[in-house]
C-alpha cells in the first residue's frame, strides 16, 4: 500500500518537473526574438552581426547605448507617427464604446420593430473579413464627400483619402462589440428598467445611469479587444494615407524599414513602438486574459 502511494507521489513529482521544463523551454521560444530585438536596439550594427553567433546576441554587453534611438528620431518624425496612432486609437476605442454600447442597449432592452432582424444581420456581418472589403472601400472613400479648409474658406469636396477621419470613422461601429454589449446587457435584470421607468426616467437616463455603471466588465472587454487592432492597423492606412504627417506608427515603420538597412535603428524603432503596448499589456494582463477568454465563449 505505502509502496503504491510513494510511487504515485513520485510519479506526480516527476510529471510536475517535466511540465516546468517544458513550460520553461516554451517561454524561451516565445521570448527570444523579443529579447534579441531589445538587446540589439542598444548595440552598434557591426556588433549586432558579430554577436549573432553566440549567446551575446541576447545580452546587453559590449558597446551599449541609445545612439540607435537618437538616429531614429533624427531620420523620421517618429514622435508624430506615435501621436497619430495614439489619436486614431483613442478615438476608435472611445467613440466605439459609446456608439456600440448604445446599439447594444437598444437591441437588448428596448422593444422596437425589426429588432430581431437587425440583430441577426449584425451577427451575420461578423463573417465578412476586413480584407474582403478593403479594396472596394478605398474606391468608396475616395468618392465620399468631405469639407476642407482651404485658404480661409470651408469648401465642399470629394475624397476622404489622406485624412485622420478616414483612419477612424470606418472602424467605430463594430459588429462584434455590439454583439458583446447586447449579450452582456441582456444578463442585467429588466426589473431595474421598470423601476426606473416608474420613477419617470427616460431610456437614455436608464442607459447612462443604470446600465453603463453595471456593465464595467463589458466595457473593459470591448476596449481591450478594439485597442489592439486599432493600434496595429496596417493594410488600411497603407492604402489611404500617403502624406507622411498623417501616417500611423506601423506604416511609418514599414517605410523606414524599406529605406533603411541599419538594423540597429530598425530594432530601435520596433522596440520603441512595442514597449508601450507591452507595458499596457503587463499592467492589465488579468483584464486582457479575461477579455480574450470572453471573446471565445460564444462561437
Amino acid at each position: 500500500m505505502t509502496v503504491v502511494i510513494q510511487s504515485e507521489q513520485h510519479l506526480r513529482r516527476h510529471r510536475r518537473v517535466w511540465s516546468y521544463v517544458t513550460m520553461a523551454a516554451l517561454a524561451v521560444f516565445f521570448l527570444f526574438p523579443l529579447v534579441f530585438m531589445f538587446v540589439s536596439s542598444l548595440k552598434p550594427d557591426a556588433q549586432i552581426l558579430t554577436d549573432v553567433t553566440s549567446l551575446r546576441a541576447f545580452l546587453p554587453v559590449g558597446d551599449i547605448g541609445l545612439d540607435n534611438y537618437a538616429g531614429v528620431f533624427d531620420r523620421v518624425p517618429v514622435g508624430r507617427f506615435l501621436f497619430n496612432s495614439v489619436l486614431v486609437t483613442v478615438l476608435i476605442v472611445g467613440l466605439g464604446l459609446i456608439v456600440n454600447s448604445m446599439c447594444g442597449f437598444a437591441l437588448s432592452r428596448l422593444e422596437w420593430r425589426g429588432r430581431g432582424l437587425v440583430l441577426a444581420l449584425v451577427i451575420a456581418t461578423l463573417i465578412v473579413p476586413f480584407e474582403t472589403i478593403a479594396v472596394p472601400m478605398v474606391y468608396w472613400v475616395s468618392k465620399l464627400p468631405t469639407l476642407v479648409w482651404e485658404g480661409g474658406l470651408l469648401k465642399y469636396d470629394f475624397g476622404w483619402l489622406n485624412s485622420y477621419h478616414v483612419q477612424i470613422v470606418p472602424f467605430i461601429a463594430n459588429a462584434f462589440s455590439i454583439f458583446l454589449f447586447t449579450q452582456y446587457f441582456s444578463t442585467i435584470p429588466k426589473s431595474l428598467d421598470e423601476a426606473a421607468r416608474i420613477d419617470g426616467a427616460g431610456w437614455f437616463t436608464i442607459y447612462r445611469k443604470i446600465i453603463v455603471p453595471l456593465a464595467g466588465p463589458a466595457f473593459a472587454t470591448v476596449a481591450i479587444l478594439t485597442f489592439l487592432p486599432a493600434w496595429n492597423q496596417y493594410l488600411w492606412p497603407l492604402m489611404v494615407v500617403q502624406q507622411e504627417e498623417l501616417r500611423p506608427v506601423m506604416v511609418g515603420m514599414q517605410y523606414f524599414f524599406q529605406l533603411n538597412t541599419a538594423w540597429g535603428e530598425v530594432m530601435a524603432y520596433t522596440s520603441l513602438i512595442t514597449l508601450p503596448v507591452l507595458v499596457v499589456f503587463l499592467s492589465f494582463q488579468r483584464a486582457f486574459v479575461s477579455s480574450v477568454a470572453a471573446s471565445g465563449v460564444k462561437g
Binding site: 516554451l26 530585438m37 422593444e111 465578412v128 479594396v135 472596394p136 530594432m267
Partner: protein, 320 residues
C-alpha cells in the same frame, strides 16, 4: 439567440388587457416612444455599419463586373464576367496566390489549433507560477505583426540568428539557407513566425473552454483508473466541442487573410512563392489601381472564406 432576447418582453404585453384604459393609452404612447428611442439609439452604429461594411460588400459585388479604376476620368464600364475569366485563365499569379493561400491555411489551421490546445492543457495545471507562463506565451500576440515580420526577417537572413543557431546545435553539420530568398522555404518560414505570433491567442480560448469542464468529471475518471491520456480523450475533448468550432473558424479566417507578413517580408516573392489572395487583390486593386479586378479577387476570396466557414460549421455541428 434572437428568441432568448425577445422572450422577456412577452409577460409585459400579457398584462396589458388587465390594466384600465387610461393606463393603456399611457402605455401605448410609452411604447411608441420606446420604439422610437430604440431605433434612435441603435442608428449611429447601424448607419456606420451600412456605410463601411454593407455598402463596401455590395461594391465588391458590383465593381467586379466592371473595369473601374481607382483614379480615372472615365466612369466604370460593365464588362460582364471578363474579370473572372481573366483570373482563372489569364492570370497565373492569381492561381499561384490561391494555391499559396490554401497551403498556408492547410498547415496553419491544424498546427496552430493543436499547439494552442497543448499549451492550454499545460498552463491549466494547478502549479505555482503558471499564470506567469500564460502571460509569457501571450506576449507575441500583443506584439504588432508588422514588428514581428521585420524582426523575423532579420533573424531569417543567411547570416542571421536562426542560421547561427542551426549551425551551433548541429556543430556545423547542417547549413541553413537564406530562408526568405529561397522559393522552397519562404512560405514555410512565414508559416513558422505566423504560428509563433498567434498561437497564444488560441491558447487562451482553449483555456477558457478547459475551465468550463467541472473538476468532478476528472475526479470520477481518476477513480476509475483513467490515465492522463484517457482523461483527455474521454473528459476533456468531448467538453471542448463548441470551443473547437470557434477556434477552427477564427484561425481559418485569419489564415486565409494572410497579408502583412508577405507585404513586409517578401512582397510575394521569390518567384511568387509567397503571394496570397489578399496580397494579390491589394497589388492589383490598389497598387496597380485596377479596382474592378481587385474587387473580383476580393470577392473570390470572400466566397472561399464563406464556403469554408459553412463547411466547418456543418462538419462540426452538434449531433443532437
Amino acid at each position: 439567440m434572437t428568441t432568448s432576447l425577445t422572450a422577456p418582453a412577452a409577460p409585459a404585453r400579457q398584462q396589458l388587457p388587465r390594466a384600465h384604459t387610461r393606463a393603456r393609452t399611457r402605455r401605448s404612447t410609452a411604447g411608441r416612444r420606446e420604439r422610437r428611442t430604440g431605433l434612435a439609439m441603435a442608428s449611429p452604429a447601424l448607419i456606420l455599419l451600412l456605410l463601411f461594411l454593407v455598402i463596401p460588400v455590395l461594391l465588391a459585388f458590383g465593381l467586379s463586373f466592371t473595369n473601374a479604376r481607382l483614379i480615372s476620368p472615365n466612369p466604370p464600364r460593365f464588362v460582364g464576367l471578363d474579370n473572372f475569366v481573366r483570373a482563372f485563365t489569364a492570370d497565373p499569379v492569381f492561381l499561384r496566390s490561391t494555391l499559396n493561400t490554401f497551403v498556408f491555411a492547410a498547415v496553419v489551421v491544424p498546427v496552430q489549433a493543436a499547439l494552442g490546445l497543448a499549451l492550454a492543457v499545460l498552463v491549466n495545471q494547478k502549479v505555482r507560477g503558471v499564470t506567469a507562463f500564460r502571460v509569457i506565451f501571450f506576449v507575441p500576440v500583443v506584439t504588432s505583426i508588422v514588428v514581428v515580420s521585420i524582426l523575423w526577417k532579420f533573424m531569417y537572413q543567411s547570416d542571421g540568428l536562426i542560421n547561427s543557431f542551426i549551425d551551433t546545435v548541429t556543430f556545423g553539420a547542417w547549413q541553413g539557407t537564406a530562408w526568405l530568398n529561397n522559393p522552397s522555404t519562404a512560405l514555410g518560414a512565414i508559416i513558422v513566425l505566423s504560428i509563433w505570433q498567434a498561437v497564444g491567442f488560441h491558447m487562451l480560448i482553449w483555456l477558457s473552454g478547459l475551465q468550463t469542464i467541472p473538476e468532478e468529471l476528472y475526479e470520477a475518471a481518476r477513480m476509475d483508473g483513467a490515465s492522463p491520456w484517457q482523461q483527455f480523450t474521454n473528459v476533456t475533448w468531448p467538453g471542448l466541442r463548441s470551443t473547437m468550432v470557434f477556434v477552427l473558424v477564427t484561425i481559418t479566417i485569419a489564415a486565409l487573410g494572410l497579408f502583412v507578413q508577405v507585404d513586409v517580408m517578401t512582397q510575394g516573392g521569390p518567384v511568387n512563392s509567397t503571394t496570397t489572395l489578399v496580397y494579390h487583390a491589394v497589388r492589383k486593386g490598389y497598387r496597380e489601381q485596377e479596382t474592378g479586378y481587385g474587387a473580383t479577387i476580393s470577392l473570390i476570396f470572400f466566397v472561399i472564406v464563406l464556403v469554408i466557414a459553412l463547411v466547418q460549421r456543418y462538419l462540426t455541428r452538434d449531433e443532437d
